[in-house]
C-alpha cells in the first residue's frame, strides 16, 4: 500500500516527536523555555495586581462617584482637596486631539505617498527615515517642545495669547512622535489592498489621485482605523513631553494655548515629589495609573480587533 501523498513537514515533525530516543536534559530545557514565556504572563498579572490593589486603597477614602464626577476638580496640593479625575482625563484628551490634528493629515499623506506614488527605491529610503521620528527619545522631544516650540516660536508669534506651558507645544512634538506609527501602519494596510481594485479603477479612466483616495483609501479604512487607535494609545501613555511642556495645572479646557495637566503628567509629578506611602496622594498615583492602563488596553485591543476584521476581508 502506497501513501497517498508524501508526509509534509508537520507530519514529519509529529512522527519524530514520538520516537523513543531523547536526551534526558531536554525536558528541563523545555521547562526553562516555558518559564521564560510565563514571565510575560506574570508581568501582566503583576501590573494588574499592583495597580488595582493600591487603587482599591484609594477608593476606600475617595468615592468612585467623587473620582469620576465631571463637576469635581483635581486639587491635591492644598485643602479642601478634591480628586475629580475628569480634569486630568480632559488634559489627556486635549493633547490627543491636537496631536492628532497635526499627525493625522501628515501621516495619512505620507502613507498614501509611500504606498501609491513613491518608487520602490524612494520608499526603501524614506521609510526608515520616517521611522527615526519614532526612535527619538521622548525627553528630547520634551526639551524641543519647551525651549524651541514654546519659547522660540509660539511665544514670539502669539504673545500674551499663549501661556509658557501650553498643550500646543506638547501636541506638536507628540504629533511628530506618532507620525511614523500612523504612516507605517496605514501604509501596510494600503499596500495589502488587492491590485485588481486599482487596475479596475485605472481601466475606467481614474487618475492616480482618484485611485488613491476613492479606491485604495476606503478599502484600507480598517487598517487606517487601527493605526489611529495605536497612535492614540501611544499619545495618552506618553509622559515626558506633556510633563515638561504642557504644564502642571489641571484645567478643564480643550484649548491648545492653555496650560493643562494630563494623567501621565500628574503621575510623574507624584513620583518627583515625596508622597509618603499609604497617603491619598500616593494611592491616587495608582488610581490614575489603573485608569490609564485600562484606556490603553481598550485602545490596543480595539486596534487588534479592527486589524483582524480587515485581514478576513482580503485573504
Amino acid at each position: 500500500m502506497a501513501l497517498a501523498s508524501p508526509p509534509d513537514g508537520a507530519d514529519l515533525a509529529r512522527a519524530l516527536r514520538k520516537r523513543p530516543f531523547r536526551r534526558p536534559g531536554e525536558n528541563l530545557i523545555v521547562v526553562a523555555l516555558v518559564l521564560c514565556a510565563a514571565v510575560s504572563i506574570a508581568t501582566t498579572f503583576a501590573i494588574i495586581y499592583v495597580l488595582f490593589s493600591d487603587a482599591i486603597g484609594f477608593f476606600r477614602e475617595i468615592s468612585f462617584w467623587h473620582f469620576f464626577n465631571p463637576g469635581n476638580e483635581w486639587q491635591t496640593l492644598f485643602d479642601p482637596r478634591s480628586f475629580g479625575v475628569w480634569e486630568l482625563v480632559l488634559g489627556t484628551i486635549n493633547v490627543t486631539l491636537w496631536s492628532m490634528v497635526i499627525a493625522l493629515p501628515l501621516g495619512l499623506a505620507a502613507a498614501v505617498y509611500l504606498s501609491e506614488y513613491a518608487h520602490v527605491q524612494t520608499r526603501r529610503f524614506l521609510k526608515p527615515l520616517l521611522e527615526l521620528l519614532a526612535g527619538v527619545p521622548t525627553v528630547v522631544y520634551a526639551y524641543f517642545a519647551l525651549t524651541f516650540i514654546s519659547d522660540d516660536v509660539l511665544l514670539p508669534l502669539l504673545g500674551g495669547n499663549v501661556s509658557f506651558f501650553n498643550s500646543l507645544s506638547a501636541s506638536i512634538m507628540l504629533g511628530l512622535m506618532i507620525l511614523p506609527i500612523i504612516a507605517s501602519v496605514s501604509e501596510d494596510a494600503m499596500a495589502s489592498v488587492p491590485r485588481d481594485l486599482r487596475e479596475a479603477a485605472y481601466g475606467l479612466g481614474a487618475t492616480r489621485l482618484e485611485v488613491a483616495f476613492r479606491v485604495v483609501f476606503p478599502a484600507a479604512i480598517s487598517g487606517i482605523m487601527a493605526a489611529i487607535l495605536l497612535a492614540i494609545a501611544r499619545v495618552i501613555g506618553e509622559t515626558m513631553i506633556v510633563a515638561v511642556a504642557a504644564g502642571s495645572t489641571p484645567n478643564l479646557s480643550l484649548s491648545p494655548l492653555e496650560s493643562i495637566q494630563t494623567m501621565t503628567g500628574y503621575m510623574l509629578q507624584v513620583a518627583l515629589g515625596d508622597a509618603a506611602r499609604g497617603t491619598t496622594d500616593y494611592t491616587s498615583l495608582f488610581a490614575v495609573g489603573a485608569l490609564l492602563f485600562l484606556m490603553t488596553f481598550v485602545l490596543n485591543v480595539g486596534a487588534q480587533i479592527v486589524v483582524r476584521r480587515f485581514r478576513e476581508a482580503y485573504e
Binding site: 525651549t147 479612466g205 490603553t296
Partner: protein, 303 residues
C-alpha cells in the same frame, strides 16, 4: 484598393485631454508634490530642531562636559555619572531581558502546543507591548524597589527596563525564528538531531541576525527611557561612579535622559546649553544604535 488609401488624411491625434479630464489629470499631477511635501515635513522639522540644538549645544560639548559630575554651576556640570549609569543599567537590562525573550520566542515557535495557551501568550505579549512605559515604572516601584527592597538602584532600574523591552524583543525574536526555513529544521530532524539540538545548532544561528537587530533596537529604546526610571526614584544627584562589583548594583544611579530632563526643567537659561549638549550625546548614541542594527542585519544576512 486597400482601406488605408480610401481614408482621408487623418487628423493629428494627440492624447492631450481636455475639459474636466484635463483638470482631473492636473490635480493628480499636483497631488504627487503636495503629498511628498507632507511626507517630508516631519523630517524637515526634525532637521531644523537638530540644527538649532547643535548651535546651542556644541559650544558646551568638550572633554570637561563628558568627564565632570553634575553641578549647581552650569559651566562646571557634566555627564560623567549619567553616561556610566546609562551604560551600567543598559548592560544589565540586556543580560536580564534577552535570554528570557529569546527563550519565550523559541518556546512559542518551536515547542508550544498549538492551543489556547499559545494564543493567550501571543495576545498577552501584543498587549504588553502597548503598555505605557510609566506603568512599567509603577510596576518597578512596587515590585523591585519596595517589595524586593532593592531601592532605586541600578538593579531595580535594569529589571524595570528589562520588563519594558521584553515584549518588543519577544516579538522581533518570534519573527526572526519564523523566517528560518522549515527545510532546515526538517533536514536536521531527519539526520537524527533532537528538537533542542535542531533549535540550538540550526534555528537560533539562522535567526541570529533578526534577534540581534531586535535587541539593538530595544536597547536604543531603553537608552532613551526617562519616565519609568523617574518613577522608580532615579531622579537624584549622583556625583560618584558606580562601583564595579555586585554591591555596586545596589547603588543609586542617574542616566543621560534623566540628566537632560533635569537640565531642561531648570529655570536658569544657562542650563539650556547643557541640556542641548546632553541631547547631542544621547542622539549620537540612539542614531548610532539604529544604524548599527541596520548594518548588523545586512552583514549577517549576507554571510
Amino acid at each position: 484598393m486597400s482601406a488605408a488609401e480610401t481614408t482621408t488624411t487623418p487628423a493629428t491625434v494627440t492624447l492631450q485631454a481636455e475639459g474636466s479630464v484635463a483638470r482631473r489629470q492636473a490635480w493628480s499631477r499636483t497631488s504627487r508634490w503636495i503629498l511628498l511635501a507632507a511626507t517630508l515635513l516631519g523630517l524637515v522639522v526634525l532637521v531644523i530642531l537638530g540644527i538649532d540644538n547643535a548651535i546651542v549645544g556644541i559650544p558646551s560639548l568638550d572633554w570637561d562636559f563628558l568627564s565632570n559630575y553634575p553641578s549647581r554651576f552650569a559651566e562646571r556640570a557634566g555627564i560623567r555619572s549619567s553616561i556610566l549609569g546609562s551604560v551600567w543599567v543598559l548592560v544589565f537590562t540586556v543580560i536580564f531581558a534577552i535570554p528570557v525573550a529569546v527563550g519565550a520566542a523559541v518556546w512559542m515557535e518551536e515547542f508550544a502546543p498549538q492551543n489556547a495557551i499559545l494564543t493567550t501568550v501571543r495576545l498577552n505579549i501584543a498587549n504588553l507591548a502597548g503598555v505605557p512605559s510609566i506603568i512599567y515604572g509603577i510596576l518597578g516601584l512596587a515590585v523591585f524597589v519596595r517589595l524586593m527592597e532593592l531601592g532605586p538602584s541600578i538593579l531595580a532600574g535594569a529589571l524595570t527596563l528589562a520588563l519594558m523591552i521584553l515584549p518588543m524583543t519577544v516579538i522581533t525574536s518570534v519573527e526572526a525564528i519564523n523566517q528560518v526555513a522549515p527545510s532546515i529544521r526538517e533536514g536536521s530532524l531527519a539526520l537524527g538531531a533532537t528538537r533542542w539540538q535542531t533549535v540550538w545548532n540550526h534555528v537560533l544561528p539562522g535567526a541570529m541576525p533578526g534577534i540581534l537587530t531586535g535587541t539593538i533596537l530595544a536597547v536604543a529604546r531603553a537608552a532613551g527611557e526617562t519616565a519609568a526610571l523617574i518613577m522608580i526614584g532615579a531622579f537624584t544627584f549622583i556625583a560618584f561612579d558606580p562601583a564595579l562589583s555586585f554591591g555596586g548594583l545596589l547603588d543609586s544611579f542617574t542616566t543621560l535622559p534623566i540628566q537632560v530632563y533635569n537640565w531642561t526643567i531648570r529655570p536658569q537659561p544657562e542650563f539650556r546649553a547643557n541640556a542641548a549638549a546632553g541631547i547631542i550625546v544621547l542622539m549620537i548614541a540612539v542614531i548610532g544604535l539604529n544604524a548599527l542594527a541596520l548594518v548588523v542585519r545586512d552583514r549577517l544576512r549576507r554571510n
